[in-house]
Structure formats: C-alpha cells, structure tokens
Amino acid sequence: MNTKYRNCYHTLAGLSICLLLVGAVLSGCTKKYTDINTSKDNLSADNISSNLVGQAFAESEYAGLSPTPSFQRAQNLFADIYAQYFATTQPSFQSDEFFEVGQWSDFAFQYFYSSAAPQLFFVRNYTRAHDMPVAYAIASIWRVEIYHRMTDYWGPIIYSNFGNGKTSVAYDAQEDIYHDFFNVLDSATAVLKQHPGENAFGSNDLIYNGDADKWLTFANSLRLRLAMRVAYVDPALAKAQAEKAVQDGVMLDNSENAGVLSTTNNVNNLSSITYHYEFAMSASMESVLVGYNDPRLSVYFAEARGGGGYIGVRNGLTTADRPSSLTVNSSFVSLRWMPYYMGGPNPPNRVMCAAEVYFLRAEGALRGWNMNGTAMDLYNEGITASLKEDRVDASDAEINQYIESTNMPIALNDKWNSPPMTNIPVKYDASGSFENQLEQIITQKWLALYPDGWEAWAERRRTGYPKGYALINSLNPNINIYGMMRRLKFTESEVANNEQAVEDARKLLNGDDVNYTRVWWDAKPLNLFPKPTN
C-alpha cells in the first residue's frame, strides 16, 4: 500500500465517519422535542375535560374563603380582631393596634386573586362555553359570595376585568360591584328556578353537594345580606332587594346552612393556625358571653389553661402588656377549632347560617321592610337557630330561658377594670330606640356568626355594633383608640404591578387610600356611632 493511498484512505474514512456522526445527530433529531418539553406532572390547561371542572370549582370554594396559608394574614390578624372576637397576644403583631402590616394584606389580596379567582374564572368560562347553565349559575352565585368579601375589605377591587391577561387591570367602584352582584343574582336565580331538583358539580361542590335548590335558597339569603349592607348608603335599593330576597325564599333552617367542607387535606381555616396560640378570647366576648351565661361560651372558648375560668383580653395591648404568660392566663378557642390532629373535629368553614338570615330579617323589619315577621320574632328565631346549630345543640328549655334572660354583660376583673362592654340584655326590648334594638340584633348576630370575623367586622363597620372596647393603644396616628379600622389600603404589590389601575382606583374612594377612609356602603352618620367602652 503506498503512502498516498493510505493517507487518502484514512482521510476518506475520517470524513465519512464524521459525516455519519453529523447525520446521526441531525436525524437523532427533534422528533421527540415536543414530548420532551411536555410536563408529565401537570395537566395541560388546554385539555381539561368537563369531568375536571368540578375539581376546579372545589378549589375555588375552598380558596375563596382565604384558607391557610392566607388565613392568618388575611383574616385572623385583621377582621377577627377588628370584630373583637379575639385579641392578639403575640408581642410582634401590630395589627391589633390599628397598624396595617402591608405584607399581610398584600398576601391576602394576592392569595385570593391567584388561588380562588382564576379557578372560578375558568369554571365560569368553561360552563358557559359548554352550555352547563346550572353549573354556571352556581359558580356565579359563589362568585358574588367571595367577591363581596373582598370588596368589603378594600372598597374598589378588581372585579369585572379579572382575567384580562394584561399588565394593567382596572378596579371597579364598590357601588358598581354591588349593583352587579344583584344583577348576577337575578340571572342566576332565574336559571335555578327553571331547573328545580337538578345537580351540578356533584360531590365536588363542597357546600351543597351540587344541590341546585339549596343554592337557590343560598342565593336569596346572600341577596338579603348584601341588601342590608347597603341599607345606609342606598335605603331604597336595600329595601327592594331585601324584600325580593325574602319573597323568593331565604334560609329558614340550619339544614340549609352554607359551609365549605373541611377534610384532612383542606382543614378548617381557624384550626390551621390555632397551634400557635397567638391570640385569645377578646374582652368583648368575655363580657357578653359570661354576662349572658351564654350556652355558646363553652362551645366557642376554652377556660384559661392557667386556671381562672374564661378570661378575655383587651384589644390593642402594647407589646409590654403581652408577656407569654398571657396565652396561658387567658381563654383560647375551644377544642372545636384546634387542629384535627390535636383532637379537633375539623368543622366546615362557615359561609352563611340560618341564624344570620333571621337577624337580617329582624333588622329589615326594624327598618320597616316587609320581612314576613316582626323584629322581635325574627330576633328570637335567630337566637333559636343559632342555639340549635349542631355545635351548640341547646334544648328548647335552655333556648327559652336564654331568650327571656335579662342578664347583662359583665365588668372585667382586669388591669384596666374594664366596665361591661355594653348594657343590653338578651331579652329583646321592642320598645327600645331604633339604635337600641339594632344593637341587640347585631350583637346577637355577632355571637351567631362566630368565628366568621370577615362578616362580623363588615357589620361592625356598618352599624357600630357590637360596641366593643376601645383599644388600649393605637399605633395609628390617624385612628385613636375609640376609632375603627374602616378598610385595608391598596396593597404594595398592586402599587408595584398595577400602578395606573391603583391610581385610578384611589379616585373611586371617598377619601385617601388610608385605613380610616370608609368604603361606599359604610355610610351610617358618624354621630350615630356608639363610642366603644373603655
């Protein structure tokens, strides 16, 4: 073999191997690339079947009530203490001193819009596109429920423009949102009326197992709640909507109560944070429940671990007044809201109960609306419904005794020698002044709603009841200890990511973007507001 030939041979061999490799790489190809770039752990949102829409609705039901990880920051540290169900014992938590910790409210806002709203948006779009009218109607009713909570917190919120996929999403004025709520309820209830006995979502509906009739009743009751919310700002609208609701049929019995099922995988909201022992029974709750010898006292709260029975804590304690011994020497929630693994029953998350509906009707009657009953009768029905709930299960005798009770809230044996929170008995005084009767109705509603601070705080802002205690200390230079947090400020992430919309939304407020600006429906004349007890 001569040299030239050998060289040539080697070169050719080299080149051909090279070309083979190049070919192998090129034809190894990109055929599988689409497969490779498809996640095996997730479904594609483009291919969700109607069988899976229910699971998305279930998520929106649970997430709509701001569960953990949002619950503590969204509700417990704001509404629950502003409703004076609880007082904070953890020294570094400042919201109890009227200081809005921005990250908390930001988290609450973001959690709702990233966890509940997208699922519901998807479900509504899907059910509308696939001609599922009952499902669409139920989803629309649920949308009213969860968005009214949000607007009650902030005032203007993102509502009609949700899901636009853009870098700016405009807010709606609360007035417009409330008007739309009534419209949505109109069309949803019209659909449900046409489909009696039907079911949508089945067991994926964690409230009524898809029972459309129960959803219809709930929708009417919700209309009543919203009607009452606007009673001061638009009395005519309130009256019309409330009367329509009652006429169409609202909740009459605890079997119609709305609550989102809790399971070990989606636990009761309050029970998810109680192991921290960071709050205690409020002084207001102690004064009223102990004073009334209320059958609900031991259902709602536990005796102080350090002994001494039921002991409440004043809201707005300074850091110095919150030693760790406070958690031992005050009443915490009862076992009912302890984590299931610590023996708690993991109850459903309350959305609405029959008792609330009776109290709404009582207030309507007090306002002279046609509520199919007198204020007093409905007040007593409300108490009865509350005491008959499973969690209390009082006997008729106990109920009658309670309704007739003239017990009064008590003074507290605390560092501040706190007087009784207020001076109204359980027994209804139909001859009392309007405000007097209103205080009785709302105070009892407050007891019945427990622990739904979200609703209780809204009603306290609207009516001033329960009267509550003044704060021990306020860190907010613009709200003194007798004042009240009226809303939460637009959140930091929205200021950063949705700046123009927030700027525009501020113009929809009745004042500055601060905690003391009142939302649209918060219109009771301030001179009629009771002064919290001190």
């Binding site: 969700i48 229910g54 110095a320 990511n497």
Partner: protein, 1142 residues
C-alpha cells in the same frame, strides 16, 4: 520558551530562535547557546521502550523531514531535537524501507541534507552541518548525577532538559521524569522545561538531585485549556483566560473548592451561602446579566459540562483550572456559555515507575463574631423585666434577683441574678474543624496508564451538630492502542457526601444564628442548655422563654431537636476515543454521564412550635445528564507561514431529574418516633422533574500566520427542546484576532519580552427552562375528589432564544524576561432578548408571563499585574496584583414593564431590575421626606416612613475589587499570602433591623431613658422636621424609636444599610520541603512538604462590623447582599502535610 510539537518532533519557533540568537550574540557564545536552546525544548507525553534494535518501516515519498521524524518517533520512540529553522532548510525525503534499523533509516534521511545528527540517550540531536557537537565524552566526566524532575504537584515532568551551565552536557528526562547526566562535580545544572521556570542547581558533588519546577504563569507559551477541552498556547488566544495555581487549592483548602478561587481571578465574584459546611457557592463572572435566569458560569470537567457546580469535586483530583471569563471564550459551549466557564482538567497518569502520594490536611475553624451586641439591659419591655420576652428593652442588669423563665417544673419558683451574660452567644458555638486525607497513585506503563485517587473530607462546623463527610474516589485510564493511533481515555468518579444539620438560613426557626443572635443578654448558658423538659403528659418538650412563639426558639433546641441529614451520591463517567487517521486528521468521540442522587431526612421533635406534635420528612431525588460529542480536527501548514487548525464537532446533551418525598404531615401519633407510618395521614409527592435535550453542531478554526497573528472563527448551532418548534434551531458566531507584536516587528526592544494585542467578538445564544410553552394545571389533594388549580404563569408560545453579544479587547505585555507582566482587558457585553417573567397584576388571571426582551449591559476593565522582584538560585519572590471593575446598566427591559421586582423577602427588601439603572437595585422602605428632602417626623417624634418599598437603598455591586498575592520562597521554605479588597457596594440587613428593633445592639443603648431627638442626637445626619415644617424637637426613647424603625414586619431599610468595603488576609501559608537527603536515597519517602495554612485570617479593614459580604443568605441572584441571620465569618488555620512514596 516557545515551541510547538508535532508528535515527537520538537521545534523551536524561529522568532524565539532569533531572539535567542540575539542574546547569544551579545554573549559572544553563539555556538554553545544554540545547542543549549536546541536541547532546551523537548516534548512527548509518551515514550516507548526502545532499543537500537528497534526496526522501522517507512513508505514515504517526497515528505517533509519533519513528518519523517514524527513517524520515526511513533515507531521507535526517538525524539528529535532541533529548531524549526533547521527543518525549513531541509530537503524533502523519499524513503521506502521495511524493518530497517534506526541507524539505517537516519542515514537515508540525512543524506544530502544540510543537517547532521548525533544520538544521545533517547534523543536525536539535529545540528546544522559544520556545527560542532560539543557533547563531552562520558568517559571524561568525573561524576554521574541522577534524579527526578517534578512539577510543584510532584507529577513527574517528561522531556525536561537538563544541561550543564558550562560545557555542553545535556539530557532529557524519561517517561518517569528521571534523568541521568554526567558532569563535573562542581557543575551547575540548568533545568528547563516548556511552560516552567528554569532552575539552576549546583551539583556540589551530589549523585542524586531531585528538582521541582515551578510553572511559568505569564509567558505566551503557557498551554491553556480552552472551550471543548482544546489546549491552546496562550499566544493564540484572542480573549482573556486565566489559569489558577492548583497547588494552592489543595494546600490551603476549603470545604468547597470554589471558595479557594476567591481573590485570584479578576472579574470573578464568589459568594457563599450561609448554610455552614458544604454551603453552596455563587460565582459570577463579569457581573450579572440575566434578569430572571442564572448569571453563573458553566462548569466543565474534562471537556464535558457537568450538572451543577464543582462543590463536590475534590481539589486533589484537579490538574488544572482555567477560567474563561467571557462569552467570547465560552461561546463554543453554547447555552450558558454566555456567562463564561470554569474548566477543570483532572489528573492523568504518567506511566513508568508507580508513584503514590499521600497528603493530609487539618484546619480548625473559629468564628469572627463582630456584631456589637449590648450587655447592659436585659429581657423585657418598657424597662420592666418580662421573663418571657424575646426583646431586650427591659431593665438594667444589676444583679437584681428575677423569676426564672424556665418552664421546667423543677425550676418552678426559682430566681436568678439578672446579670450580663457576655459570653452566652459564644458558649453555643464551638471550634470547628476540617480535615482531609488524600491518597493518589499512578502506575502502568507509558501506553497504558492508570491513576487511582481517594480523598476523605471531614468537617465539623462552628455550630455543634453540623458535620460534613465526603468521599471522593476516582480512577482514570489512558491507553494508546494500535501504535498510538487510537487513544483511549476513560474515567469514573464516585462521590458520596453526607451533611448533618446544614444550617437553615434567614428567619427559619431552625437557623441557629437567628436564635443565637436573638438570645437575650441576661439568659444564662446553663439555663438555656436546659432546653428540654418533661411536660405534664410525660413527653419531652421545648423549654423556651416564650413558648409557642412564631419563629423564636431555644437555640439549643434548634441545634439538637431538628436533625436534618442531606446525602448526595454522585457518579461521573467518561470515555473518549481519539483516532488519528493521518497527519492531518483526527477524530475524537466521547460519551459521558453525570448522575446525582440526593436524599434528605428531616425530623421535627415534639415541642417544636411550628410542628407542635412533630413531623418527619424524607425525600429522594436524582438528576441525570447524558452527554455525547465528537470533534473532528484537521490541521495543516498551508504554506511556510500559514497554518490552519480547523474543527468540526457536534454534541447531544440530555438532562432530566425527578424527586420523591413523603412526610407524616403535621401529625405524629407517637411523639418522637420517626417513622413515616407513624401518622394517620402520610403524604407523598413525586415529581418527574423536567427533561431537556440540546443537540448542537459547531465548527471552529484558527488560522495563524508566522505563529504571530491568529484568527479564530467559530459558529455553533443549537437545537433546544425547550423552545417553540420555530425557534428550536438557532445559530451564533464568534471571531477573534490576536497579534504578537513583539514577534512581528523586527528589532523589537529587547526588554519587552512579549507584546500581544487581542480582540474578540462573540454572539451566544441561550435557550430557556422547559415547559414554558403551555399553561399547566396542577392536581392536588383536597375536597372530596381533589383540587384542580391552573398554573399562575401564562405561557408564551413565541419564545425566542436569549442572546449575548460580547466584545473584548486586551493587551498582554511581558518585560525584562517576563520579570514583569501586565495583562489588561476591556470588555462590553450586552444580553438581549432575555427570557424572563413579567409580573402581572394578580387580577389579570395569572401572576406572571414569560417573555423576551431587555438589554443588560456590562462594561468592565480587568488588570492582572505579575512581577518577580527577586529571582536567584535560592530566592524567588513573585508578587501579583489583580484589579477589576465594571459598570452595569439595564438599558432596556420591556415597554410594558420598565421595572421588574425580581425577588423580595417579605419584609425589608425588594431586588429590582429597572431600566436606566444598574442591575440589582435594592429597594426598601425609607423615611418620608418633604419637598426639601427633610425627614418628616410625626407628633410623637417618630419619623414617618414611605408606605411601600419605594426607596433605592443598596446595590451589592462593588465599585472595584482587587487583590495582592505574594509567593516567596527561599531554598526549601516558602511563604504565600493573598490579601484582597472589596471597595464599595452596600446591602440592607434584616439581621440589623430585627436586632436593633429588639434592643440587642449597642446602637440601641442611647436614649433608653428618653431624650432622643430624631435628626439631632440620633440619625444626626438627617434634617428632620415636624409636619408643620418646624425642626423636630420631640423627644422619644430608644424603644419607641427602634421598635418602629426596626423589627420584623415593616422595618425602614434605609436605616439598616451597610457599606461592604473590606480588606482581609484571605490566605496565608508557610511551607517547608524536607530535603530528600534527610531520608536517604534508599528510603521510600520523598518530597515531604509541611505547610501551615490559614484562610480568612482577619480583616485589615471592615466598614461595617455587621456584615461579611462573602457570606449571604442564599446563592440566588436576588440573594445578592441579602443578610438575614447569616453566619459570622469563619477563620480557619491548620497544617497540610504531603509525602510522596516511591
């Protein structure tokens, strides 16, 4: 010393030859020097056993003598020593022999040539005819000297030239680095080798002289490993690439080899996560460029990009480290090459005599605690003692008796003296240690070499219970088959690492530093150590002053009752085959895999407040990478002056990972029985992880002219699975040009030993993460039938690859025979088309979407100054200076979002990339100011603050960084030190916000009894006014002020900014090599080196005692400058011993 070798033929470069000739002429000793230079340059990595009886077969016609020499070398193992000049003058040869003798073949080759030759030992010395062979006859030499030449790592050096300083005796070392030479007993041996500093050794009548050569780091002939493992001479590089001395990184070690690069490479920023032993390290070359991706470089081991970084690699296995700092250098690596690359070559054997080296290293670690804590006031608030307080706003500690905080029933009713416990924090810490032992063996013959290495590393942290164990096992085989035409290189690394109680970071309840720093100053160590008691139910539970609190915990509980084990097992395998088809072509084919299996095991004991009844979690995950590539190389002299070296290659990279985890959930039935079955609700999760595949084809080549002008061109096309089908394929080119001015211009001033100019341009593409093209929906447990949740990231079906364009230019200068060297590099990079997420308002229905856009520009300057102030036979002193600085500018992001919050902690800081600003501005809450910039103070005397984090307060980027290193050696002693300086850069500290807010620091001592007036005696640099515009005169006390400015929930970041400037003694080592004569020639022990080493020994200057900017909370981009209860600086010092066995 400049040379080039063609398989066995050592040729001096004409340029050098000329330069040498000039010098020789000056010395009027032309002939001798010429021969010396001839002898000086030798090579060959493999020698064969040979004898004169070797038979040679040659069939060549009209072939250059050079190639004939090569063939003779291949067949007979003889190397030719000559200058290139000589070969140019030689005639072509035709030869056709079978099984001829060497002498016979040489006769044919040298027939009619202007050259002649002489045979010596294993070399054939080629001379011009007429020049005298002045080799002395062995018979007249009075003494025979034998010995071994090694590099500083004790690897034998093959082909080293040994010659007598006077006279012409000379030889070269064999395949084991051994030599034998016969010289007068008073001769001085000159030992020289390519890429190494020559050494002169007086014989002084000795028969055995072992020599260690130091590598030359500044000369142009240094071989540099460049992209794809191609070794190039420094002269041919058109960009900046820097090698790091590997001796230092084994001697003065760290638990993560990347830490040992600190201060050594201009433009390289290295930060360590605050997770204690085995902490991950973040490396950024030439500044951040990726908005939401990684700006970290690619790590390449033996030519193959690996998973992750080098943290698990043993420094003992490393033969060389090269840092390719810019896109220009790393463009061939494609994706992620845009951030530069760190290239490691691991050791290969040398064959010949089996060699074993053993080394051991033991260092102790002590914390440099520098936060100024106060020890005057104790636990409580408003001046009152509160035993359950997590704050130090209580009364003065004056020995008064107070009630115990202990919950332990046996402590009930106890009181103790309220006294300062000035060492309660230090008492918790311990002296850590780090030890490592290495055995490295090399054996086999020249054509089949094997190395085996094992390293065991053990560390104990400065926090008890934090330990690290790591085993590194490596085996590598090199084999030459079929007469050396096929080369096999195969290796297997096995690494096992176990870390116990890696430090949790930030505000985690289990971060011991959070608990240690927040230890009230009155808590006695003896009390705190009683961290556990038996509760009423008979279960051991936590004893802490504020039970059930959110993040606080007894530090001892955090250390002992939340054990966490993280294990990693890693296997890296590689096989490559290189076939040489002919003189012109060779082909390399390589396959490699890298697999990491990780395990985690986390226990929360009963009584851990966040997990009150305990919890147990275990997890396993794995990452896999398969890599295959080929490289076809062609090189040829196109003419007398032109040379081409061209390559065509391709690669395929497949990566995937998965993970499985399970836990008891928040519920364990039996306290502290850590079994997954011990629950009613075990939860498990499995993730397939992600898969990616990238296929690539690339071509690159170097055209050189007269070995003085080099043109590099390269192009690469990638096909990436993560992009939309239209964008799967993308191409990017790069090019560079360099010129050795000193060789091009005749009669260049002699004192300039080299002057090189270089310029390069590169365009690098980068794909994205997988699964960005479709919106996904997650299924999770919940409700009756599960929950379905849509992903909050909107897909982008139009994604394009990211693109970095880089320009780089530089000058390299060597003066006075390389005694002084200067390298200056200027660069500019722009990263366009970045793939990042844009945050959407949540109301849009999603929280973010992927998009392309942006232009981040970095412009910088890097200077490396090398000098050798002293170089004598016994003393050598090198001083090197590093300097680097850069400007960063975010030129553009996107029309929709000129500002992106890349990340944020929940409380104090937002990491922001904003158009028109430098990269990485940190925003926080600031003091509210009026139109005139005066801080507004409310009626209570408390400054008002901005409602959001809207004030830019810090940027981590230093103004410049620099270092000075000094290597001094005197005979067998050496002293090395490295001092580095960081100038500028700021960070905002969560640690300080909380410690000040809680009253733990000296800063909070002032005004405890009142009398602080903001803007006057506190924060006096601020002008403060009341809301009515009058100067602030409202007095407050320290607690009121600091609680509102500091604390956890809404601290005013502006008040907690640290200047990060510091100067420190980064490394110090003092070593002594015991002369081998101590052991005698019959001993198995040789080359014993003992060094005392120290790392991070102390700060010459530190602007803020609160911060060591080297240690950050994490290693993400957004963690830059993030200080949230990070560990203190750690000083380490110890001893390193290395012994060779023969």
């Amino acid at each position: 010393m400049k040379f080039k070798f063609y398989n066995g033929v050592l040729c001096l470069r004409p340029s050098l030859h000329q330069a040498a000739r000039k010098r020789c002429l000056n010395k009027k000793n032309l002939l001798v020097m010429k021969l010396a230079i001839m002898l000086l340059t030798v090579t060959c990595l493999q020698l064969r056993a040979e004898s004169f009886a070797q038979r040679i077969t040659l069939h060549k016609s009209n072939t250059s003598i050079e190639k004939i020499f090569e063939t003779i070398y291949e067949q007979a193992g003889y190397q030719f020593v000559c200058t290139k000049d000589m070969l140019r003058e030689a005639k072509k040869v035709s030869i056709d022999v079978d099984n001829a003798s060497l002498i016979g073949v040489l006769k044919i080759c040298f027939k009619d040539q202007p050259l002649t030759y002489s045979l010596r030992d294993k070399a054939i010395i080629v001379r011009k005819k007429g020049e005298q062979d002045r080799t002395p006859s062995p018979l007249i030499a009075p003494i025979q000297v034998t010995g071994k030449v090694t590099d500083s790592l004790d690897n034998p050096l093959i082909g080293v030239t040994i010659k007598a300083k006077s006279g012409t005796a000379g030889t070269v070392t064999d395949g084991s680095g051994n030599y034998s030479i016969t010289v007068p007993d008073d001769a001085v041996l000159v030992v020289s080798y390519v890429g190494y500093m020559s050494k002169e050794v007086p014989v002084n009548g000795r028969n055995e002289i072992n020599v260690t050569l130091q590598s030359a780091t500044t000369a142009l002939n240094q071989l540099v490993v460049t992209a794809l493992g191609v070794k190039q001479e420094a002269r041919a590089l058109t960009y900046s690439a820097q090698s790091v001395n590997v001796e230092d990184i084994t001697k003065n070690r760290s638990d993560n080899v990347l830490n040992t690069l600190k201060g050594k490479v201009p433009g390289m920023a290295i930060n360590t996560a605050g997770t204690g032993l085995g902490a991950s390290v973040r490396v950024v070359l030439r500044g951040n460029r990726s908005i939401s991706g990684s700006s970290e470089p690619l790590y390449v081991v033996d030519g193959v990009p690996i998973l992750g970084d080098l943290s698990l690699i043993s420094p003992d296995d490393i033969a060389s480290i090269t840092v390719l700092k810019g896109a220009s250098a790393a463009a061939l690596y494609g994706s992620r090459g845009q951030n530069g690359a760190v290239i490691i070559e691991t050791k290969t054997g040398v064959g010949g005599q089996p060699r074993v080296s053993v080394s051991t290293n033991l260092t102790v670690r002590t914390p440099i605690l520098s936060i100024p804590f106060q020890y005057a006031y104790g636990q409580g608030s408003a001046g009152q003692y509160i035993g359950s307080s997590e704050l130090a706003w209580g009364p003065k500690m004056e020995g008064q008796m107070v009630d115990t905080w202990s919950l332990d029933p046996k402590d009930a009713g106890n009181q103790y003296a309220f006294d300062p416990q000035t060492s309660n924090r230090e008492d918790i810490l311990q002296t850590g240690l780090n030890s490592s032992s290495n055995v490295f063996a090399s054996f086999g013959e020249k054509n089949a070499r094997t190395v085996v290495g094992y390293t065991y590393t053990y560390g104990e942290g400065i926090v008890p219970e934090n330990t690290l164990k790591r085993h590194n096992f490596t085996i590598r085989v090199n084999d030459n088959l079929f007469n050396g035409s096929l080369r096999l290189d195969a290796k297997l690394n096995y690494i096992k690492q176990d870390i116990h109680n890696q430090i949790s970071t930030g505000e985690s309840s289990f971060n011991p530093y959070r608990q240690i720093y927040n230890l009230p100053p009155n808590i006695r160590t003896v009390d705190a150590k009683n961290f556990e008691y038996i509760n009423a139910e008979g279960v051991p539970t936590q004893n802490y002053w504020y039970p059930s609190t959110t993040v606080g915990s007894n530090p001892y509980w955090a250390i002992y009752r939340n054990p966490r084990d993280n294990g990693e097992e890693r296997i890296i395998g590689m096989t490559s085959l290189t076939y040489t088809f002919s003189d012109l072509f060779n082909l390399m084919v390589r396959g490699s895999f890298d697999r990491i299996n990780s395990t985690s095991d986390v226990k929360y004991f009963y009584g851990t407040y966040r997990q009150p009844v305990g919890r147990y979690e275990v997890g396993k995950s794995s990452s896999n990478m398969l890599y295959g590539d080929f490289l076809f190389n062609y090189k040829q002299d196109l003419s007398k002056d032109w040379h081409v070296d061209a390559n065509l290659g391709g690669s395929i990279r497949k990566a995937n990972n998965d993970g499985l985890s399970t836990s008891t959930g928040s519920q364990m039935l039996i306290p502290n029985f850590f079994s997954i079955a011990n629950t009613l609700l075990p939860t498990a999760g499995y993730s397939h992880g992600s898969s990616t595949e990238v296929q690539s084809l690339y071509a690159f080549g170097t055209f050189s002219w007269k070995d003085a002008i080099f043109l590099n061109v390269a192009g690469r096309n990638d096909w990436s699975s993560t992009l939309p089908p239209d964008s799967w394929s993308f191409f990017y080119p790069s090019a560079g040009l360099s010129a050795i001015i000193s060789d091009l211009i005749p009669n260049f001033p002699q004192k300039i030993s080299h002057l090189k100019l270089r310029f390069s341009y590169a365009n690098v593409g980068n794909a994205t993460q997988p699964y960005m093209l479709t919106r996904t929906a997650n299924f999770s447990a919940g409700g009756n039938n599960g929950f379905l949740q849509l992903s909050s990231t909107l897909p982008n079906k139009e994604l394009e690859p990211e693109k970095t364009v880089s320009y780089e230019g530089g000058v390299d200068l060597g003066l006075w025979d390389e005694r002084l060297g200067l390298g200056v590099t200027l660069y500019k990079t722009n990263t366009f088309n970045q793939l990042f997420t844009i945050a959407l308002p949540v109301g849009s229905g999603a929280s973010q979407f992927y998009t392309n856009g942006g232009d981040v520009q970095n412009e910088g300057l890097e200077i490396l100054l090398t000098s050798t102030p002293v170089r004598t036979t016994n003393v050598r002193w090198d001083v090197n200076v590093n300097f680097s600085t850069y400007k960063s500018l975010v030129k553009e992001i996107s029309d929709e979002r000129p500002r992106i919050v890349v990340g944020s902690d929940s409380y104090v800081r937002e990491y922001v990339v904003e158009q028109g600003k430098p990269f990485g501005e940190v925003f926080s809450r600031g003091f509210l100011r009026d139109d005139q910039g005066r801080v507004i103070v409310n009626d209570n005397g408390i400054p008002e603050t901005t409602s959001g984090r809207t004030v830019p307060v810090a940027n981590f980027k230093p103004d410049w960084i620099g270092s000075i290193s000094s290597d001094f050696s005197y005979k067998n002693f050496n002293l090395n030190l490295l001092i580095d300086h960081r100038h500028g850069g700021t960070s905002v500290s969560m640690t300080r916000a909380i410690l000040d807010g809680n009253g733990f620091t000296k800063r909070t001592l002032q005004g405890r009894e009142g009398g602080l007036v903001f803007g006057q005696n506190i924060f006096p640099n601020y002008q403060a006014v009341l809301e009515d515009g009058h100067p602030n005169n409202v007095e407050v006390n320290a607690e009121q002020l600091w609680t509102l400015i500091g604390g956890r929930n809404s601290p005013v970041g502006e008040a907690f900014v640290d200047d990060l400037t510091n100067t420190r003694l980064r490394e110090l080592s003092i070593g002594y090599t015991i002369p081998n004569s101590v052991f005698g020639s019959s001993s198995h022990i040789t080359n014993v080196n003992i060094s005392l080493v120290g790392r991070n020994l102390f700060f010459f200057y530190r602007a803020s005692p609160y911060v060591d900017p080297d240690v950050l909370t994490g290693t993400g981009t957004i963690d830059e400058g993030f200080q949230s209860f990070t560990p203190p600086s750690v000083r380490s010092f110890g001893i390193n011993i290395k012994v060779d066995l023969k």
